[in-house]
Amino acid sequence: MAKRPAKMTDEAGGGHDLTIDLKPFINFLVVLIPVLMLSAEFAKISIINLKLPENRGSSPSIKQTKAPEQNDDNKLLLTMIVTDSVVTLGAKGGFLPSLFYREFHKYVSREDRAVEVTVEYDPSNPKKQFKNPKSGKPFLVTERQEILLYVTDENRNIINCLYTKTGEMLTDGAGNPLKAAAKAGDTVYILTNPRREVVVTDPGQYSLHPLSAYDEMKNRLMKIKQRYADVPDANDIILAAENQVAYDKIVQLMDVARAAEFPNIAISKLRS
């Protein structure tokens, strides 16, 4: 490639150099890159707004759990309860069946990003440390990358569900998670909001993975949203957590609630 322009000058015979002078362009790029680097935003931080009502006293616990005095007959008072092994949805009328989960922590080593370990967390032994298989040192809390919650049955066996390759959960027409492999020609629903109907053509596109409690909770919340769209507090949800629940889980559940169109999230404390 580099030789061709030289040849052209020979053929032209006039001694004119026909190569493009790239120096000004490079100068321009050299200036542009530092300018862009200065204004680049590599880690994007955003905020989740949580506006508490101003005139209902000062303590969030009293504000959020005490029912307002007026006009609460038609209200749903939807509450999500999070403890270290259960997520439950409750409302004025009662509770839905609890989602029991087992908790797995994914650690990524700081020194060597290739070391990735997923270990099961035992809520009865929160102080237990997990060792880095490569260096032998225990993992730091700051090396915990992700908390995964997998739904289990009564015997604490993890329930599997069909997922797409991009990690979206599949349900049937009634909104129940699909627990067996799909056949070609089946109609399945992808858990996006609103649900996307798909006719299976290639069953190999979907595979069974452990059912995430976050996905199942989103599924249930979407069903509730559809059914109780007319209640006065159709956008409200109360998130009640136990003391030892990690903040990360709360943020993930807030995301789930907002994905299911419950944007007004209140936070409350579950009294033990």
């Binding site: 862009l36 680049a40 994007k44 616990s61 030892q244 009294r271």
Partner: protein, 168 residues
């Protein structure tokens, strides 16, 4: 060696031009990447090294500079000034119905008084009561609740949680 030297004599061009095509390719890629992460607003929020914010799908950007309360595993800071060790907050009994972190309350009262002063001077229209809470994702809910309760008690009712935007 002699043969090689002889061949070089004939093939060496008079001016050795720098091949900059690959350099330009590289620069172009860098420029496109940087343009993708370009932000005209800059970042109002910054986070400390030992503070790992949780990932979230939230895309709301902070518009103004608000009071910042940061809680790491060791220390609680208000506007980057260490106020109280997190272990002190953990020591507050959990069954207290209205837990208040005394040192944090004292500091927040001072900043709230400043805000009131600014309203008096006309620099602000009204007290907004905005606070951004930056919490390490591994801190437990108990600490968050006590901090939120203290903020609410002082008058900072408009709470915002800082989160790391998940890559799409």
């Amino acid at each position: 060696m002699a043969i090689q030297r002889g061949r070089n004599k004939y093939t060496t061009p008079k001016s050795a031009g720098l091949i900059i095509t690959s350099l330009i390719d590289f620069f172009s890629i860098v420029v496109i990447y940087l343009m993708k992460s370009y932000s005209s607003e800059g970042s109002i929020l910054t986070n400390a090294d030992n503070l790992v914010l949780p990932n979230s799908v939230a895309i709301t950007k902070p518009k103004d500079i608000y009071l910042q309360v940061a809680a790491t595993n060791d220390m609680v800071l208000v506007d980057n000034i260490p106020i109280v060790p997190t272990d002190d907050i953990r020591r507050i009994p959990q069954d207290v119905p209205d837990p208040i972190v005394a040192k944090l309350e004292e500091k927040l009262n001072a900043t709230y008084a400043q805000e009131q002063q600014m309203v008096k001077l006309g620099a602000l229209n009204k007290i907004q009561g905005n606070v951004i809470i930056q919490m390490d994702k591994n801190v437990e809910f108990d600490v968050l609740f006590k901090i939120m309760n203290t903020c609410g008690k002082v008058g900072y009712n408009n709470m915002n949680f800082a989160v790391m935007e998940r890559e799409q």
